[in-house]
């Protein structure tokens, strides 16, 4: 039987959180960026 290697498990779950969370945040930032000009043009009208 193999030893537990919890460090590898933590590394895998941690990196998954970083990768998926990073893309989640990128999409949120992009959404804010594309929404900003629309909000400005609506306010100007």
């Amino acid at each position: 039987m193999m030893p537990d290697h919890w460090g590898f498990v933590a590394m895998a779950y941690g990196l998954a959180a970083v990768v998926l969370g990073g893309y989640w945040r990128r999409l949120a930032r992009l959404e804010r960026e594309v929404a900003a000009p629309r909000t400005r043009s609506r306010a100007a009208r």
Partner: protein, 218 residues
């Protein structure tokens, strides 16, 4: 609350259950020990990237070349971008699992090499889009590359049968009875569902952003 936002919350809830089950409730695997818990991240991300993102890219690309609809191109673009995230995660978590199990971070095994080629094609797809100025030309080139990219999936899937590999053959997506115990299958299915919902959220959100960008440019 919009449907996309609801999808986002649903994916978070499903991920919380999946992680809790994978790290806590699921039993310690007899041979591999706790390292096997990495499979609750590795397998779902591989299934989403190879069997959900790639077919979506394929059908959306064929649809674009056939009907010339911008919606199909946006769906292919969004699926490729989200797909590259899950594909990269597949390779990263596979490598982390490989070190304690096989004794190496990396080996030029047929499955690992073919998956890496697929990742490079995903990256190439996105670079091609970014490097082509004219949107219609970018969509045309990307659609052709998208079809070629997706046609690699059978090669990745059957690589473990066609060549002698260190990577084990599929435990789930294969004909015949399931070889995994139900205690392992249940958290695996929950995590596959969670990752699929998260992928759907990413794609829906990216499609909406691409649509807004296109409207702003028109």
């Amino acid at each position: 609350m919009t449907a996309t936002r609801a999808l986002g919350w649903l994916s978070l809830a499903a991920l919380a259950i999946g992680i809790g089950w994978g790290l806590g409730l699921a039993p310690r695997e007899e041979t591999q020990g706790n390292v096997q818990r990495i499979m609750y991240v590795h397998v779902p991300s591989a299934i989403v990237a190879e069997y959900i993102a790639c077919p979506l890219i394929f059908f959306a690309s064929v649809g674009y070349l056939w009907k010339r609809r911008a919606e199909a191109d946006r769906l292919a673009h969004a699926s490729a971008e989200a797909g590259v995230v899950f594909m990269a995660l597949t390779i990263i978590t596979g490598s982390i699992w490989g070190k304690p199990t096989w004794g190496t971070w990396w080996t030029w095994d047929a499955r690992i090499t073919s998956v890496s080629i697929l990742l490079l094609m995903f990256i190439g797809y996105l670079l091609l889009r970014a490097a082509t100025d004219e949107p219609e030309r970018a969509a045309n080139y990307a659609a052709v590359l998208g079809i070629v990219l997706a046609l690699n999936v059978p090669l990745v899937h059957f690589s473990v049968y066609w060549w002698r590999t260190l990577h084990q053959p599929p435990s789930m997506l294969k004909p015949g009875p399931m070889t995994l115990s139900p205690e392992i299958v249940r958290p695996l299915l929950i995590n596959i569902l969670a990752y699929a919902i998260l992928f759907a959220y990413f794609v829906a959100k990216r499609v909406r952003i691409l649509k807004t960008e296109a409207e702003a440019m028109a």
